[in-house]
């Protein structure tokens, strides 16, 4: 506004404005920077505060603990980038764990059981996407409903009990590898890394990725430039559903029982990771790198505070403060740059 009224020297006005904003601009353009700094500070702090934190086994354990929620958060990131939210992601994944397990127990070969379950997860998430894009229902309501439905379906299907997972492909992601004979990796960690890498690549390097951001940032602009908003939204939920299916497989690698009551706060935990990672709940800003950092921050806080002997209620309190802080920061940068 003020710029168009300044008749002379528009360029100069812009330049000085930019210089004083340069730090803010740096953070606005690299949303991963803030969370990464926070993660490093936390790691350094706990390394000095406890004698047990700073060792390779502990780091490996922290990552192992984060992969299921982290992978749920990966799918969640895609949905949130479109300015949506998925409250049903963990319930879909838990349904996936039961479907895989029961199909495999019922003599289907492991790979078939797994593929059927992943397809089922994708189908359920796609249904959410269709309700959001075609019937224009708010994602919060659609996925809240889907959460209730999938929780009920899972309870009915599991008959309310846990099911042991047959050995083989379904538990394979729990297999450990040792790098340099020392650093423990699980196959689940490898799969999570691959999923994050592929999703990052697709978001950054393809037209589809650009469209996901555009649809989330300014749907009307996306529509006027000819992007198919409906198709983009449905495809996002579909891809997220596939990722939830993989999260189900990872969950069985961590604990070889399919438990209908597992990951009950997985949906909120995944949102927490996404938000702390700097992705905007308003859509169109952020990305999967931030989500990795966000998931790690949560896990590092838990691990570090536990090792300092601090009550788990304070861990939740710290996480809560971080979430609110992250959203406040996002809001502030958005308002200034808008």
């Amino acid at each position: 506004m003020s710029m168009s009224t300044t008749k002379s020297g528009t360029t100069a006005t812009v330049d000085t404005g930019r210089r004083s904003d340069s730090v803010r601009a740096l953070f606005a353009r690299n949303p991963v920077l803030g969370p990464t700094a926070a993660l490093l500070v936390a790691i350094v702090f706990f390394s000095f505060a406890t004698s047990t934190f700073a060792n390779v086994d502990n780091f490996s354990f922290i990552v192992q603990q984060s992969i299921v929620v982290g992978t749920l958060a990966l799918g969640q990131t895609l949905v949130i980038l479109t300015s949506g939210i998925d409250l049903a992601n963990a319930s879909i994944a838990v349904f996936g764990t039961l479907l895989m397990t029961r199909l495999a127990t019922g003599h289907l070969p492991g790979p078939v059981a797994m593929i059927v379950a992943i397809v089922a997860c994708a189908a359920v998430a796609t249904l959410s996407g269709l309700l959001v894009s075609r019937i224009k229902l708010p994602p919060f309501i659609v996925t809240l409903g889907m959460l209730a439905v999938m929780t009920a379906v899972t309870n009915l299907y599991s008959k309310g009990t846990t099911w042991p997972v047959p050995d083989g492909l379904l538990t394979w992601l729990g297999t450990s590898l040792y790098l340099f004979g020392r650093v423990q990796f699980t196959m689940g960690m490898v799969l999570a890394a691959v999923l994050f890498a592929v999703t990052w690549f697709v978001l950054a390097k393809t037209g589809w990725g650009r469209h996901v951001y555009a649809v989330g940032n300014e749907p009307e602009a996306a529509r006027l430039t000819g992007i198919h908003i409906d198709r983009t939204l449905v495809s996002v939920y579909l891809v997220a559903g596939v990722i939830y299916g993989f999260a189900a497989w990872m969950a069985l690698g961590r604990t070889p029982t399919a438990d209908p009551n597992a990951y009950q706060t997985g949906n909120l935990d995944s949102i927490t990771a996404v938000v702390i990672g700097g992705t905007s709940l308003f859509g169109g800003r952020g990305g999967v790198l931030g989500t990795i950092v966000g998931a790690l921050i949560v896990a590092v806080l838990r691990s570090g505070l536990t090792q300092m002997g601090i009550d788990s209620n304070y861990q939740n309190l710290a996480t809560g403060v971080l979430v609110i802080g992250a959203v406040a920061f996002d809001q502030a940068t958005r308002r200034r740059s808008a």
Partner: protein, 264 residues
Amino acid sequence: MSATTVERAAMLTGRGLVKRYGHVTAINGADFDLYPGEVLAIVGDNGAGKSSLIKALTGALQPDAGTIELDGRPVHFHSPLDARRSGIETVYQTLAVAPALDITTNLFLGREIRRDGLLGKLRILDRKAMRTEARNQLDALGIATIQDITQPVESLSGGQRQAVAVARAAMFGSKVVIMDEPTAALGVRETAHVLELIKRISNRGLPVVLISHDMPAVFEVSDRIHVHRLGRRTGVVDPKKVSMSDVVSFITGAEEIPDEAIAW
């Protein structure tokens, strides 16, 4: 130029277009004619229905009634993409830019350049080509105040944002370029640039539609002035035969358009 034909045929026409929003009739039986190579200004009061008219012509909204013809053939643009594919580029009043995305991405939104060969089949973008092309286009338009094309559009001034939207239309328009108040947020110098650009596009042989409230600008560049009032075209005048204050009274309805000023 190539205008050797004696009788001019309109290249883009609208007949009896209607669009209602609930009780509001935004377009009320509007007609529209655009001839090859001309610069047509559309003027009218706020809320007269100018933006709605060009949205109907470019597939951004679906008219309730009326017909649209491009090169004499009836067309139905179901989405802005259809119109873009037919070579019609539009600078919408809202600019249609995604503020969080960078300039290059915005310029190519929905029309990204892909890599050659297998990588392209995998839909991988050629970001280098897009950046080079974006740079060239902005330079060609004389929009030198934009130094860094990787910066998000929201970090630009209102005028620079408008320049990006104009650049996009100029870049991709192959048949018609339509601009809805492209100079509304611009300073004197930037407005002059856009008017220069309109003349240049016109010299390329492309017709340009310019919606504007800026009378001096309208009189500087337009060949004909389409007067829009209460949702319909009340007449088209020749800027050489009327004054700016005449046009203002046609817009408000204070005066009827005299026959000798009409330029159908």
